[in-house]
Homo-oligomer: 669 residues x 2
């Protein structure tokens, strides 16, 4: 087997923790998903009990674990879509009942129960009821059919190789892993749909795609595909892709109809249109609502949905232009369309207004749109956050985003409430993550990067979990249940974002990375380029004025944020340079000048990585050698990277302002 | 025909310029090269006379043009290799005699005569005698077998496509063009020898390569190949490529022997070793002399030579390190080996110590080595000089280099004298140019870039030609003989290097280009990278201290250069920042401060491109539409590029030093 089982690598439990019912699972429901629930139970429990566990289909006279579907189960769900996903785990005498309001919910109940057993939380947590918070919990693969993965840092695609679709045991393991963390939707190809991938929705590939849909269906997961908005032109003989053109409409209707003929349980489309060179409705003077609704209408009769990305901006900006602001783009494009999208359209909105930087404000679109289905898009793949070489546990970031109060409907309208459907009563919404997997043995390049994948799933089920709780769960399931391991790994994970941020671009300014590759520092790399990503540093200071006097971006926020961000004094300092041009001598709340803060954090970042290395070294022999060595090697590279960031950032600013480090540390000339 | 004939596109001459002898060529010599001379005469003269001209083999009773080989012809050549290349054109009564000391010399005489006729210089220049100045006049192709060209800006390779060797009418036209400008050696593959190209010297490709050698032989040109120093490992079963290992030596002897069995007139090898990731003798603790001599000994029995590149430096430098200096590398590596190379080894030395920047000092190796065969390497392909989008006529640069007095043996030891063999009596030496051709219709992307190719050949034959003379010849032969065309084109060409330099990196500092692509500005693009290419700009000034107090590079020069370069006051100002770190407020000889000079030249550069555009527009209808439109389009792109350079450079320095432009022009913030 050339792949690990990650958090599904069940280990034997202590003898005294074994309950007699565990070895008697009884499946009281029918259908493929219920069958999967039974199978997952047996696989896991056999490992944990150290003896074969067989599935029964009738209760006999002994304590058992009963797996059942109870369609009229009570639930606290706020809508039907979520209600069907509720499950319950409770004890009746010596037996345990795992019941789901649907087979999919039962499967989630079984995974949850197994996790509780593995983590020794049974007595503490039962009775346990759960309704997932996010209706859709979606993975976006940026896999291309040549076998490469855009922004992939874990090897090659396990879906494709050389324009062939793969299907093997690894794919099955993948489906199990996804289901175990609550995933219920997967997009199997890159949002940048190239020539060959355009054919995925045609007979060239549909039968092979069906293998995936069938597999995913067993695990309660719907398969989606990214489509090329120009497909009618590239695949049909239609000279345009105008969404209001009857031929185009008909082409899509026919294409979608055929997809559903082959794959009746198909989920729908993900679309990146009019973005970074992708075709879209703008070409024909149409709106994004025109484009999305056209596809939505083709999908609606079959129950399919359209996920439409809001990552639309001018990627041909002139660096000389200080008025155009990429941060404004999503809001400027989509706010005026609020209420015009069909019910089966979701807008997928990146967490921040730029592009997955280590620190960004929350996208103002979340606080703007009120009559539109929304999905929060985060990037599990660490494109700008260390590329799975550097450790950067992203759950704390995502929790901050979910907890961000948009003040859209007074206080308390958090992003979590908006994208979970609680604020506006929507059921077609949720969270999407750009996944970080590949065909590396450990799936995610760096073993510790799997915590982000695991955490994304867990968070989308239960956002109330803390980052520490998720880290601990993951560490115990994946590395070791020993406290001395958890005591090292959990703080390492939970502090890693802060460490990464320290040696990266300062105070929210972002983008000081090597162009294209996005790993390692290049302070001016994007400064004179066309991507709208500028820091505007000169000899006096640095930062982008996004107040009303500047680009006006702050006005996209509801009060009180608009006012809070508008003033240097009230702006959260981690975002200071995102919103303001600030002199190097400006004094921060810590009493330090901006320049001294830059120097200090960059020295600290390196020191913290060195400390991480020390901590990690203490795990030698306490976890698998493979995982230990993998992370050891990554940490060594991270230290090199952190030093390079420290020295280049410090030298860059020292050369620019000439202000010496107060502590006289080594800043290269 | 999908290619032009460039300067071989002979046009009809005026009736009154026709001499009666022209239509009676008589070939008095035998062999393939002599035959070619006759053929070339007939092709050209048919076009120029407007009637078929047939070759005769006997003098009959009328005025004729006699083509003959006179082995005992007198010559002023300083060595035998050159003597054999002497030719003479003179009149005897109404007949003209073109005589060469060899068939190859005769062919050169014919091309020269035809050019004189085309340029209407017959009466003015006859009698004409010529001994080429450079014994070897070599083209280096950086073509890869996949069909791409490293640093190629004129389309794809016409030698290879998808690992197949091409051979067609274009290849024949190419050979004619090369011979017509005096080329006598061609390396047909990239110095970076990749996997498949390693097989070029084996039976996998040798028969196909033979097609080229046979073709080139007809034109008096020897074919060379770049070889992979690690070939014994990659092609043989030898675990090393140690040049002193008997198995390795034997492998090469056998390989070379076989090459000569298939291709008896093979020229030899070009080698890039221990450079930018290429394998070499350093791997085994051997010297470059060990490596080159090993190959030389394998080639010597067959009359072959080894051209060994001196482009050896540490491409993994730490930008923090201010002592290591890439500029020193070639001298540091090769000086101590002077006198240890075999007679059939040539060191091929780039013109400057860095890498074909728009302005560099002349490599100190030319003034250092005295007992080693040397070849001057220049880059006809405009990698750093505008990529055949921007106009940059390089003959003035090359003339400066050839005229540079190294003071190796007192005053007057110019680079020209050294690489032509005059200084030390060598005959295996000369000039090599990295060629700028591809399969674009006009061969060189920009029509005007062909002037560099033409000029390289002419200069290596007759370095005493002025840049203006060469420009005029080329323009008349390629575009139009009309004075109003020449009056525009010649100044455009001759001023273009100066214009390009103005909007590029200032005063010899170089390298402010987009990494990897090398087109367009990126001021800090290489500043924190590993390539040893730094400008060290800070808020006070810019430049690299290469004096004895700095990297010590100046000490590689003979006096008086060592002293001249060592002081800001005496250092030629176009090289000021190459040798010195200079404050922005330093006053130049013009009375301007350094910063004002930077601003002024960058505004001027753009203005001069605008003026070039105007000039070029005046040629509409006076030259071929194809050429007119090609250059018009290139000039528009050049203007964009010049503006981008102007604005980025000016903004970069303004942001860094805060000193305003005295003339209050627009510098973006």
């Amino acid at each position: 087997m050339n792949y690990t089982k990650c958090w599904l690598d069940y280990q034997p439990i202590l003898e005294e923790k074994k309950k007699s019912c565990y070895c008697h699972p009884v499946l009281m429901a029918e259908g493929v998903v219920a069958k999967t629930a039974g199978e997952e139970y047996c696989i896991a429990m056999s490992e944990m009990l150290g003896e074969p566990v067989d599935l029964l289909y009738d209760i006999i006279e002994e304590p058992s674990v009963c797996l059942e579907v109870v369609e009229d189960m009570e639930t606290d769900a706020t809508n039907d879509a979520l209600a069907k996903q509720s499950f319950k785990i409770h004890q009746e005498e010596d037996s345990i009942i795992i019941s789901g309001k649907s087979a999919e919910a039962l499967l989630q109940g079984v995974f949850t129960f197994l996790r509780m057993v593995a983590l020794d939380q049974i007595d503490e947590k039962m009775p346990y009821t759960c309704t997932p918070v996010m209706p859709l919990r979606m993975m976006n693969h940026w896999d291309d059919m040549d076998g490469s993965i855009e922004r992939g840092y874990s090897g090659r695609s396990f879906f494709y190789d050389d324009y062939e679709i793969l299907y093997n045991e690894r794919t099955e393991m993948y489906a199990r892993m996804m289901a175990s963390i609550g995933t219920n939707a997967i997009v199997i190809n890159n949002v940048n749909v190239h020539e060959k991938e355009t054919y995925l929705i045609t007979d060239v590939y549909l039968q092979q795609v069906k293998q995936y849909t069938d597999l995913f269906a067993k695990y309660g997961i719907k398969l989606f595909m990214s489509v090329n908005f120009a497909a009618p032109m590239e695949l049909g003989d239609i000279p345009v892709s105008d969404p209001l053109n009857p031929d185009v409409i008909q082409w899509w209707e026919k294409a979608v109809k055929h997809v559903y003929e082959v794959i009746p349980n198909f989920g729908g489309f993900l679309v990146k249109a009019d973005s970074e060179g992708r075709p879209g409705p703008f070409t024909y003077g149409r709106t994004h609502a025109d484009g999305a609704n056209m596809l939505a209408k083709a999908l609606a009769p079959h129950g399919g949905i359209v996920v439409w990305r809001c990552f639309v901006y001018n990627c041909g900006q002139d660096w000389r232009d200080r008025k155009t602001d990429r941060a404004r783009a999503a809001y400027d494009h989509f706010m005026e369309l609020d209420g015009t999208f069909d019910d089966n359209v979701i807008l997928q909105i990146k967490n921040g207004p730029m592009d997955f930087q280590v620190r960004e404000p929350v996208s103002p679109l979340f606080g703007g749109l009120k009559k539109t289905n929304m999905m929060l898009e985060v990037q599990i793949a660490q494109e700008y956050t260390g590329q799975q070489i550097d450790l950067c546990y992203l759950i704390p970031m995502w929790k901050e985003i979910l907890a961000f109060d948009t003040y859209a409907d007074d206080e308390g309208t958090t992003v979590e409430k908006i994208v979970s459907g609680q604020s506006y009563g929507q059921s077609v919404c949720g969270m999407a993550g750009v996944i970080n997997t590949g065909d590396d043995e450990n799936w995610t390049g760096n073993d510790l990067a799997a915590a982000n994948l695991y955490g994304f799933g867990r968070l989308s089920m239960e956002p109330s979990l803390t980052a520490e709780e998720i880290a601990e769960e993951w560490s115990k399931l994946s590395l070791s249940k020993e406290k001395e391991v958890t005591d090292v790994v959990v703080p390492m994970l939970c502090n890693s974002w802060s460490t990464y941020e320290k040696y990266n671009a300062p105070l929210g300014i972002g983008w000081m990375v090597t162009p294209h590759y996005h790993y390692g520092p290049d302070i001016d790399g994007y400064e004179y380029d066309r991507w709208g990503t500028y820091h505007r540093a000169d000899l006096h200071g640095i930062g982008v004025d996004r107040t009303e006097a500047g680009t006006g971006y702050v006005t996209q926020y509801n009060e009180p944020w608009r006012s809070i961000y508008a003033k240097k004094e009230t702006c959260p300092e981690e975002l200071l340079l995102f919103f303001h041009y600030v002199p190097y001598t400006y004094v921060l709340k810590t009493g330090k000048t901006l320049i001294q803060h830059i120097y200090d954090t960059h020295f600290e970042g390196v020191e913290e990585v060195e400390e991480m290395q020390k901590q990690w070294t203490s795990l030698n022999g306490k976890i698998s050698d493979r995982a230990f060595e993998c992370v050891t090697e990554r940490l060594a590279r991270q230290l090199e990277n952190a030093k390079e960031w420290r020295d280049r950032v410090n030298t860059y600013f020292y050369r620019k302002c000439g202000i010496a480090d107060e502590k006289n540390r080594n800043i290269y000339l």
